[in-house]
Every structure is written in structure tokens, then in C-alpha cells.
Symmetry: C2
Subunit: 719 residues, 2 copies
């Protein structure tokens, strides 16, 4: 026996040592590696056997995930059983599918389709843990939660957890083109191998579904909002259906971005006018065709009349006309339309920040019941910091869906370590004051403020073919926090970061604490070295890489940084007060008054709302110019501090991931310095002011920074 | 002890069971998984300790690879030692770097820079295995060879092996664009993450180098032959240098494809005329700049005056003028120019098959000593079968470098199982008769026929970001066989296939034999279902996917299938005899006479050289039409047989790779049927003949096949 054990041990060990066994980040936060022995000993008493059905595909994957997770974490296979024979059983299921669970008479009322209970119970004198839901998917979510407790080293003896999601649609938007390119993707190409679908269903699709289900994501829009009609052709719908088949057991529905003019392009019609009966019939027939292949198809995401996309306004119809026409085609099947409010027109001389509100606010109440209007978190475009979008709170009769950008288009691409949790949390906790104090954005989108049953949050995915999915290990945290906040937008981004660090790296507190601190500070650091004090949109043209506050090369005025910062010899900032563009008036009166007053405006939004003299005295007593330089400098210092923190953590985790993070932090420091120096050099050329004492001058000349040109920038659509 | 062992065993086992531990093909043939216990017992006596230096980076990686391989295969770490203390030591190194090896007085004369010995020796009364070379890289090659012996379960007690490569340059050509696209790539995007270089050196680069070194590949051209000048700018040269640093320990040099007009585009000159002194000076300075960064830089690959690329003919200079100008810039540093002979012009009304010969043959003897002319295996373009290129044997004063296409542009992309070994072997063993019988292509390119010291073989890589590198597991065999044949073009492709199967899958003879048989037959099957009896170039326009013998949509006559097959009511085939284009005259007289005579021409080349009546009697006694249908049908039957073979092998290997191969074989069957049916339907529409009795008619109408259009085809440059 001993010899056998040693031989097998050695065999097992080397098979682990072979080349592909590197810590390459593929496992994400579902990293079921062995817990420390003390932890295993504790948990073993609560994981002696598993009672889990496999009558449906969702039950099957739930059982498999528990077996996989428990055997990984605890180091032994937890045996399956039909009934409880020992203390420490884990029972998972629904009252409807398991007599044992039915006999527990737990209160599953109001758990809805996705909620679950995790309860320590006694069954026939045996201590057990029950993971109970009204639906199979609810039980799957509960199973992932239970595994998370073990992964994060939480006690599991006396559990009494009840979880229901606050949002109904928790959706990833993939900006993937059918040629494999991902717009604003920094993690390789599209993970959808359209060419080999439907014949080949890559194992990665299943791992994608597992990761999403583990954080409650229940929908995925497979293709870019700049959609081609071809996705709606029979050959592609077969491919979509194959993916839907893979995702279905995990409670994930597929959605498609559609091209509004598809009835012309693939339908042979002469128009796509939403009020044309032939157009309506075409979409009805198309919906029927889709649902025949994919009975649980989620619906359509639409970018219309924005950035060159066709839409109802081409026929002098409103966004509501367009959305409702599609919604009516989907309604018989239970599908929804997610209609984007990200519209603006260069023909419109109005402040771009105001245009979406101007266009959509009047349509409030005109959308059919299965339409959500999808609003970006801020009025510009996913900047490191913007005030919340004024549509939140302004369309009480319409379900508004939040759109966050998970991919870091404006926050350093793949390499910068920027945890977006604080950005998301800042927006969600912002008070719209639409119904008085406490009318947070979170309450707008979870429907509680106005009583909407249809609710949702979308995240523009940061997923690609890179082995680690997201281009860097820390970018995985942004996918993770998005999912967790979509489930419950009231959560703290710090606690989510902590869960993620524990699951992804280690429970070693000497690692967890400094890394969570570093993550929590990382977004503010990025704001500081890129766009402090309410500045926005200073990045390079088109590709959005690096600083270019001087740039005026873009064809359209409102794609140019100079449009946004408006720096001149006197001062800097965009006057959106009542004497300026009056964008402040799009907010609730109390907020509008606050933002209208330079003294009351939070300094983090100062230059977003005000054009301010360079010598304006900030609350610190320093001039605006001094404070601007100080913020830029602080951003660089913060990145250096992050590097130092990381260097002290060498040895706490595997060398592979340690090294990549270290290499990327070095890139971030280099680029933070570049942002600081280029922006200071440029703004100094405008202000004509000397640097405040003690601040280093830019390392190179403004001419040098202006001369930098970049080709083959990832994520930019000019492949 | 026992409890500890069991616990550790379990921990080790589950860490292997975790999600990323799938058999995903990443390890390629360097799959150092535990050998069966009986094999381990045998080998343990010959692997008791390892004596290997680590004074240079190449010695370091050699030692690491042996440790990794031996511990993986044998299940225990083989201890390092300074001197031999037991029987069974493995000693690796050079006489110059190891006194122990020096004391063995082995005959290392004539091993050259890359050769090695593997010898069972006695040292101070102890049996040992010595892996000995004149250089560190030679020892690395020997180490990989030794590991291969274990991987393929060969005896290692009485070794007396001596290996030297027959070719000097063994090079992969990557057709990778700097935007990440791979022309004719079917395995994902480019593995070069140019954006993150030089800051981030992905671990994959090292595994790429290991795989190449293991089969003797010693050069890599990083970028597409349709090159942009930007690769020669300082920022990109830094990135190239970073890759060169990773590859250097493995004996791999980097080369670059250059754009002939770069002196204009990035040099600010008005001309790229190779005889212009300023142009010459620019290239000299550029070479100096490159070698300062990369002292062992390999040289340039050039596609000039072909398919729109600039070249010396733009200035009324010859290919030799252009090549020599670059060669002179590289010569002081030891670099070479690989100048492609794949040139043709649509302005030239001559048979395209003749144009490269017409252009290059007169230049024989005009190239400088560090120029190789790189010739594709056949005169058309990497078709499933072509006769060998008539330049082989026709330029005795010029080193000709073979160019094979490893990526399956014309042989079913990623999914079709086609082992290219027989194709390569068929070309290499073809007799040019240039100096009488036995003047094989292999002897032309290995320099032995004409005494050239500079020799080489290039393979257009099939490598991409797909986890399995090559788009399918079996495509890895094509990379492998290319490398092994580049080392020694006289080898049997069957024996190489057997090594590959054993290293990649298993030594289980019940698996090895049928799989090698299947591989060896796979190329002929593909010829049969695509282009039997000497047909070529029948594929879809541009993207090269699927059959389109009818296609005349391409802008240029010689890109159209109808140009090649010339089918009409009387017959089919391209008359290249003396009464036709007289391409036969480009071969040596005896061969020309053979190919000129329809009765003597091997039937596998029949329609390549002759326009033949449909009722022509083949050697079988059947008509040409009958035989054509029979070949097409046989190709489909062969694929069905491959599927059946594979089905019987379920359980012999891991489920992951088994399933993917099975899924891809299903695609191959579907597409083989499509090729057969579409081609028969089309040729029948021309011949007007009924199908021979017993053959099923095409499943769909010719109109249907002609109607098929494809978008987003992988590997096609219109992203």
C-alpha cells in the first residue's frame, strides 16, 4: 500500500509539473486549488456527502460543479448519496425536484426564479447544509455561493443565507465582430469561433458559462452593437443556437445585437421603416424563426441612429417607434429589447453631454413593456470619471438599464491595474434626488424607485482569447465585480474585491489586505494621472491610447479633446452651468443648483461643469493650476506605490502571475508618467504658468509628446 | 509517513483535476507525461543522475529541459551532479565546456555547429550516456533527441547515435501581420503580442522556442512577406530584439520580411533603386542598427515584384540586383537574404507555371554568396499535388531554399486531417535528373548536388493563438514533420509520423499503427476529393475555401479555376506539352520527354500537363471521366474510413482530444462530400456525360453549389 501510494503520488505530482500546468489565469476565480490543511480539516465535517439530483441539465452541472469544487478545495471526492447517512451532508435542489428538500419545509417563498437559501439544518438527527431554491438555476447560484464560502475561508457551520438578485437582467455585451476582432478589446480576439460553429463547441464556451453563472450573470449579447445583418441569416442563427445550447444549463440566455436595416439587407425589402407593415411582418417572422431554434432567446440589443448606425430616425420615426416595433415581435416569445440611449450627432451643435437626455427624456412613457433603455453610466463615454448620466431619475416611466464598460478603453487597456469596482459603486450610489434624498442610481435601475419589474445591468465585456481571458489577471476582477454588482448594486466594491482576491490568489491575509487596498486606490490613481478634477476625453484620437489633450485631428468636433477641456490662457474646463451649455439643468433641481455653483460643485467634477481660472483657489488653498499639477503627480506616485506594494508580495503567490503583474505595473508607471508629463506640458503651454515649486518638469518637450503616433493599437476598429 | 503520503497524493491529484488541466494540446509533442511503470523501471537504470553545465543560457535551458523531461517521464527528479557517482548517469555538454566530456575523447570532428553524438559509454567503471556536441546548441539538440528516445519507448542501453543536419537554415516563415492577423492562418491570431512587446515577454514565446529547438528549427521570420516598412523602425526593432533574446538560448535566430521600398517610406529617400548609392547606404545603416540590437540577427526574407509588392524591377533592375544590394548590407554581419522566386505577373500572357523559371533561370550565377533563392515546392501555389518546381535542378550556381506551406491554405484549413509528410516527401524525393538519375530535389536543396555550403528549407507556419497552437491536434504533426525533414530531407515521413504519434498521444501500438496509417493516407484522400489526376486550383475565390471550379469572379485570369482546368465539351486539363504552353521544356530533357507524352506521364499529373478527352482510356481501362468520378468518390470514402478508424480508438487517449478530432473529422466528411459533389456536378455540366454506373449523383444541384458565398473566412486578408 505504501509503495503504491508513493508511486502514484509521484506520478500525480509530475503530471502536475508538466509544461501546461502553469498558473496562467485561465481558471479565473473558480480556482479550486487545495485549501490549507487546517481549513480542510474544518470543512471536512461539513462536506461528508453530497445529495444532488441530475434529472435536468442544470441539476447536472450544479452537481458537477460541487463535486469539482469540493474535490479541488478539500482534496478528496465527496461521495454522492441518495439520502443523508452522516453528519455533514450537503443537499442541493428545489422542493419540487427533491422530496428530501421538500421535507425541510424551508421558506422558499419570494425567492423568485434566481434566489436561493443556504441553511445549516438538521435532518433525521444529522447536521446538514441545504442549498435550496425554487428553480434549478437558483440552486446552481446557491452552489456557487457555497463554494465561494469555502474558497474565501468563511465559516460554514451555522449558515442562514438568503439571496435574491435585485436586477433581473445581468448581461455581458460583447463588442465582438464576426471576423474575430473585438472593438475595444485588449485580451486577444473574440472567443466565439464562428467559423467552426455549430460543428465545434469549444470547451472554453462551457468555462465561460461557468464563470458567468458563478457571479449571477444570466445573459450574453454575442455580437457588437455595430452589427451586421448577417448574424440574422439562417447559417449564423444555427451557430448562435449552438452557443445557446452550451449556455442553457447555466441559466444564460443569448441575445443578439441587430442591425436596424436588416429587413433591407437580408430581407429584400425596400425600407426598414418601423411603421411599415411589411417591415413589422419581417421582424415577427424573424423572431419566430429565432425562437424555433432558441426557445429561451433573450432578445435584441440595438444601437440606432448613433455613430453611423441606421435607425428609425432615418424614416422620421422616434426611438420609441423603433424599439416598440422590435419589442412587439419579441413579446409573444418573452423576449426584450435593450435600446441604447448612447446617441449623439455631430450635426447637433448642442453640448454632446446633453444630447441623449434631450432625445430620450421626451420619450418617457412611450416604450412598450418589454423595452429597456440602456444608458451609459455617464453622459460622455466611459471616462475614468464622469458625473452620473442625467437620464437616471429623469425617465420614471421607463425601465433604465445601466451600461458599464468593463473593458478599459479609457483606463489603460490591458496593462494598467485599475479596479473598476469603486467607479461602478460611485455611480450606483450617486443620488439622483429624483424623488428626494436617497434616490440613488442603484434604486433607479433596480426598479425600486418607480416600481419597474423589468430591470437590468449590462457590462461591455473585457473577454478575449488571451489565456487569462481578460488581458491581465487583475482585469478579471472587473468582470467579477460587474457580475456581483449586477446581482446586487448595493454591495460594497471593497468586499467584492476581497472575495475576488481570496478566490483568485490566496486567503493569506498578508497578501489580501495590501492587494485589496491597492485595488481600491487604483481607479483614483488613474483619474489623477489621466483626467483629474473633472477633465474628460483627453486621450489619443480614434485608438484612445495615451494622452493627446492637444489633438484636433478627428473629423468631428466632439471627438476632439480640445472640445472637452476648453483650456485657454485664462483657465480650463467646460462651462455647463446656466451661463454655459446649461447641462446642469438636466439634473434634479437641488443637484442642478449645486453643480451650477462653482463653490458647491465637488472638485472631482469641477472642470466638467465649470470653466475655471488657472488661479482659482481650490479648497486646499492652492490654485487650480497648482492642484492640477499636484493631481497629475500624485497619480504617478500612486502607481509607484502600487509597484512597491507588489514587490513586497513576491513569494506569496505563484511566480507566473506575480511576474506578469509586475511587468504590467512597470508599463503602467511608464505610461502614467507619460500622461502626467504630456498633459502638464500641454496645459502649461496654454496657461503660461511656471510649475509650482517642487514639481519636476516634464521629461520631454511638448513637441515630442505631440509627435508620437501609434499604429496597430489593439481594440481599434481599423484592422 | 504513510498518512502524509496519502494526503499529499490526494492534494497532488486534485490539483491535477482542476479546470485548466485539460488535455488541450498546448504541450505539443513535448508531452512529458509519465511513461508506463514497466518502461520507467527500464529507464531508471539509465537515468540516475544528470551532469550538465549551466554556464551559458543554452546550457541552462538544456539542463532544464532534461530535468523537466526526465522528471515528467520517469516520475522522479533526476538529481544533478558534478561528477559520475553511479551507473546510469547522463552527461551532456561539449568538450570545451566540460572536462568530463573532454576526457571521453569522443570523435566530435565534423559535427559542425549543430550536430551531436549520443553514446553509451563507461566512465571510471560506471555506465553512462553521453550527449556530446561541439557547441551548446548541438548539445541541446542531442538532449531533445535523447528525450525523444524515452518518449517513443526506444531502448537506450546501447546507444551510438550521430546526427548532423543536412540543411543549414531550418526556418519557419510566419505570415503574421503586425495587426495580429495571420494570412492563411487557421489557428487564431498571431502569437506575437507586438503591442505588449518589448515590455512583456509572454511565456508562450519560450514554449515556441522549445518546440522548434526540439525538431532542429533554427530560424523564424516573424512577419508576413507582404511586409510593412514599420517593422524596421526603432520601436519595432526593440520588440524584435526582445523576441530574439527569448529565442537565442534555443539556437533560433530571428529574420524579418522587409519591404523593398522601405528607404522611401521610412528613410525619406526618393527612390529604392538598388543601384542608388543612397539606397545602398540606407540599407547598410539599417543593417548596422539591427545588428547592434540583435547580434545574431538572421537576415531578410523578400517578396519583391510579386502580387503588388515593390521590388527592383520598379527601377528596371533585376531580382539579383535587389537581392545583392541587401545581401551586401548584411554580409559584414553574417546575415543572409532569402529571396522568393514566387513571382508572376498578370501582364505576362505566359502560362503562370512557367513565369518564375523564366525570370530566375537567367539569373543563375548572378547572386552574391549570402543569397538563397526561395522556391515553392511546385510551380503553382502549394496545391494538394503539383509536380516539383522546375527551378530545382535548373539553377546549379545558386543555393535554392525549399519553401513548403505548413498551414493548410489549400488542404482544408484547420479542420481537415491531412498529414503533409507524404507531400513533402514526394517533392523531396522527386528526381530532377539535372545531373542524371538520382538528382533528387533533396540533393538540390541540401547542396550536395552542386556543392553549395549555404542551404535551407522554409515552412510557412501554421501557428497561432489557438491553445493547441495549430488549430487542430493533427496539424501539429505538420509543424513537426517540417522540422524533422528540414534537419534531414532524406527521412521517411512515415517514421516521423510514428515518432509524432508516440510523443503526442501514446506508445500504445493499438493506437499508433492505425493512426499512422490514417495519417499516411490522408493527403491522397484530400487530393482525391479536391483535385485528383493533376487538377489544381479549383478552390473558392480569394478565401480559398471549398470547391469553385466554375469560378471566374477573380479579377485576374490566373486566379480563376477555369484558367487551370480548361474543361470543355471535349476534355479537361492544361496542355503544357510542346504543342501547348511547353512548360514541360523547363524540366530536364528526359523528364520533359516523359511529361510531354500523355502515355508516359504519371496519371497523378495527367491533367496538369495534358488536355485529355473525357473518353481517354486510363491505365485502368476506364475512361478519364469514369476515373475522375471514381477518384472524387474514393476521397469521400477514405474520409469515412478515417472516421471509422478513429471511432475504434475511443478510450485509447484522453476524451478532450478524442472529441475534437472526431468533430473535425465530421466536418471533413461533410466538406469532402461537398467537394466531390460540387466538382462532379460542374464537370458533368461541361462533359455532358452520365455518371458511371454505381456512383451516386451529387446531393444538390450545381446551381446550389454555385450559390454558396462565404464571409469572414479565416486566414483571408480582407478583415
Amino acid at each position: 500500500m505504501r509503495a503504491w501510494a508513493i508511486v502514484t503520488l509521484m506520478l500525480a505530482m509530475i503530471s502536475c509539473a508538466s509544461p501546461s500546468r502553469a498558473e496562467d489565469g485561465y481558471e479565473l476565480w473558480l480556482r479550486y486549488h487545495p485549501l490549507p490543511p487546517a481549513q480542510v480539516t474544518l470543512y471536512n465535517h461539513q462536506a461528508t456527502e453530497l445529495i444532488a439530483g441530475a434529472a435536468t441539465s442544470t441539476q447536472d452541472v450544479t452537481r458537477s460543479e460541487l463535486q469539482r469544487g469540493l474535490s479541488g478545495l478539500l482534496g478528496h471526492t465527496v461521495s454522492l448519496s441518495d439520502h443523508i447517512t452522516h453528519d455533514g451532508a450537503i443537499v442541493v435542489g428545489t422542493p419540487g425536484s427533491s422530496a428530501l428538500i421538500g421535507s425541510l419545509h424551508l421558506n422558499t417563498q419570494n425567492l423568485g426564479s434566481d434566489g436561493y437559501l443556504i441553511r445549516s439544518v438538521m435532518v433525521n438527527g444529522h447536521a446538514a447544509t441545504a442549498i435550496v431554491a425554487q428553480t434549478d438555476v437558483g440552486a446552481l447560484y446557491g452552489a456557487f455561493h457555497f463554494l465561494r464560502l469555502l474558497q474565501t475561508a468563511q465559516p460554514i457551520e451555522h449558515l442562514d443565507l438568503r439571496e435574491t438578485p435585485r436586477l433581473k437582467l445581468r448581461v455581458l455585451d460583447h463588442w465582438d465582430y464576426l471576423n474575430g476582432q473585438v472593438e475595444r478589446g485588449y485580451a486577444g480576439a473574440s472567443i466565439w469561433d464562428w467559423w467552426k460553429l455549430p460543428d465545434w463547441r469549444a470547451p472554453r464556451y462551457t468555462d465561460y458559462a461557468r464563470a458567468n453563472a458563478s457571479i449571477g450573470i444570466n445573459g450574453t449579447v454575442l455580437n457588437n452593437v455595430n452589427a451586421g445583418a448577417i448574424i440574422l441569416t439562417p447559417a449564423y442563427l444555427q451557430k448562435v443556437a449552438a452557443l445557446a445550447d452550451v449556455f442553457r444549463p447555466y441559466g444564460i440566455r443569448v441575445y443578439l445585437s441587430i442591425r436596424f436595416s436588416a429587413p433591407i439587407e437580408i430581407g429584400g425589402l425596400k425600407t426598414a421603416d418601423p411603421l411599415d407593415p411589411q417591415v413589422q411582418a419581417w421582424w415577427h417572422a424573424k423572431a419566430d424563426e429565432i425562437y424555433k431554434l432558441i426557445p429561451d432567446f433573450g432578445g435584441f440589443l440595438v444601437k440606432a441612429n448613433s455613430e453611423g448606425q441606421p435607425g428609425p430616425e432615418d424614416y422620421h420615426r422616434t426611438h420609441a417607434d423603433g424599439a416598440n416595433m422590435l419589442a412587439d415581435a419579441l413579446a409573444p416569445h418573452g423576449g426584450v429589447v435593450m435600446w441604447r440611449a448612447f446617441v449623439y450627432s455631430q450635426k447637433n451643435p448642442e453640448d454632446r453631454a446633453k444630447q441623449a437626455y434631450d432625445e430620450f427624456k421626451p420619450l418617457d412613457g412611450r416604450f412598450h413593456a418589454n423595452v429597456l433603455v440602456q444608458v451609459k453610466n455617464g453622459p460622455i463615454d466611459f471616462q475614468p470619471r464622469e458625473p452620473f448620466h442625467p437620464l437616471f431619475g429623469a425617465m420614471p416611466k421607463t425601465p433604465l438599464m445601466m451600461e458599464f464598460e468593463i473593458t478599459k478603453e479609457y483606463l489603460g487597456f490591458a496593462t494598467h491595474l485599475v479596479y473598476l469596482g469603486p467607479l461602478f459603486e460611485e455611480v450606483l450610489s450617486a443620488d439622483t434626488m429624483a424623488r428626494g434624498n436617497g434616490s440613488t442610481v442603484a434604486k433607479v435601475i433596480d426598479g425600486s424607485l418607480e416600481g419597474h419589474p423589468l430591470t437590468g445591468m449590462a457590462g461591455d465585456a473585457n473577454i478575449g482569447t488571451d489565456r487569462n481571458w481578460c488581458g491581465s489577471d487583475f482585469n478579471q476582477a472587473n468582470w467579477y465585480v460587474f457580475g456581483r454588482l449586477a446581482w446586487n448594486p448595493m454591495q460594497s466594491s471593497r468586499s467584492i474585491a476581497e472575495d475576488w482576491v481570496r478566490m483568485t490568489f490566496t486567503n493569506d491575509q498578508a497578501f489580501v489586505k495590501p492587494v485589496v487596498d491597492m485595488m481600491m486606490g487604483s481607479r483614483e490613481a488613474t483619474v489623477d494621472y489621466m483626467t483629474p478634477l473633472g477633465l474628460v476625453h483627453l486621450m489619443g484620437p480614434g485608438h484612445h491610447y495615451g494622452p493627446a489633450p492637444w489633438d484636433a485631428s478627428e473629423s468631428e468636433a466632439d471627438w476632439r479633446p480640445v472640445y472637452y477641456h476648453r483650456a485657454d490662457h485664462q483657465g480650463i474646463g467646460f462651462d455647463r452651468t446656466s451661463t454655459g451649455s446649461d447641462a446642469v439643468a438636466q439634473y434634479a433641481p437641488a443637484l442642478a443648483a449645486q453643480f451650477n455653483d462653482v463653490k458647491q460643485t465637488p472638485e472631482q467634477y469641477l472642470l466638467y461643469f465649470h470653466h475655471v481660472p488657472w488661479d482659482y483657489r481650490m479648497r486646499s488653498g492652492q490654485t487650480l493650476w497648482h492642484e492640477l499639477v499636484a493631481h497629475y503627480t500624485q497619480g504617478v506616485e500612486d502607481v509607484k506605490q502600487m509597484q512597491e506594494t507588489w514587490q513586497h508580495l513576491d513569494g506569496h503567490i505563484d511566480a507566473e502571475r506575480y511576474r506578469q503583474v509586475a511587468a504590467f505595473l512597470a508599463v503602467q508607471e511608464k505610461e502614467a508618467q507619460w500622461w502626467r508629463d504630456a498633459c502638464i506640458a500641454y496645459f502649461q503651454s496654454i496657461s503660461g504658468l511656471p510649475l509650482p515649486p517642487g514639481y519636476a518638469p516634464p521629461q520631454r518637450s511638448l513637441t515630442y509628446y505631440e509627435s508620437l503616433k501609434f499604429q496597430y493599437v489593439p481594440g481599434f476598429s481599423s484592422w
